[in-house]
Amino acid sequence: MVVGTEPLSTESPQGRAGRERPIGGFELWAWLFMRISGLVLLVLAVGHVLIMHVADEGIDRVDFGFVATRWGSPFWRTWDWMLLSLALVHGINGLRVIILDYVRPAGLRFALNMAFYVVGFALFVLGTVTVFTFDPSKWPAAV
């Protein structure tokens, strides 16, 4: 496995826009994942933000009834679940890269990474359960 403990870029500032492409192994896949998931998140996250926060009164209209109607459609449940999964992995890998850059002591780096992996996994489980088990018919008066 190629580990990224060496400085990430020695090129001129004009050499790259983002992170230098790793030469292989896990880091190359992580690099590629960030770009592919970024492309998908361009639609999922930007769409989510525009629909929920900008369009049609934005957040003012969001309440239990709104979620019940929205998640009445499997399309939006799938959208939200994909957004949840991709954003968590994309974001936590981003944190890993940043930790790699700024946290030098190996033990602290490991502890921080593990903490974010655990939080990320727990939130993935919680979010998945929320998206797929939500059943508004338990509260008929509210819908």
């Binding site: 500032p13 826009a17 983002g18 939130l123 509210a142």
Partner: protein, 128 residues
């Protein structure tokens, strides 16, 4: 001894790419930290309307709404700058156009934030 200057002048202020690199990190960290909280607040919907509507009440606070505007800006910046990064990474010859690309992506971000700030700002003003 001859006076030495760097390629970018006597004071190191960085290339525009360095500022966008920093902004990309800052917006990314802000978004993932918000996401941590957002998964939890959304999970409350499983406890019924009374509990969830108490959570969404938080959004009727003008300060929270300003933070919300900041979140939208962070997502848009990260998305547009991320696209710039992908263009250069997948078509390396575009590095020669990094300056126009940086100007174009910054302009796109600022221009898209104008109507969004207008729309979301109106909602915030109504709360005051």
């Amino acid at each position: 001894m001859a006076k030495r200057t760097s390629d970018y002048g006597t004071i190191y202020r960085g290339h525009e790419g360095q500022w966008s690199w920093l902004a990309h990190r800052v917006t990314g960290v802000a978004i993932i930290l918000f996401l941590f909280a957002h998964v939890v607040d959304t999970a409350v919907v499983g406890w019924g309307p009374e509990a969830y509507n108490r959570v969404t009440e938080v959004y009727h606070n003008p300060i929270v709404r300003l933070l919300e505007l900041g979140l939208v800006a962070a997502v848009l910046y990260h998305a547009i700058n991320g696209t710039k990064i992908m263009i250069i990474d997948f078509w390396p010859s575009m590095v020669r156009r990094i300056r126009p690309l940086s100007i174009a992506s910054t302009a796109l971000f600022v221009l898209s934030m104008v109507p969004i700030t207008w729309i979301m700002g109106k909602g915030i003003l109504e709360l005051l």
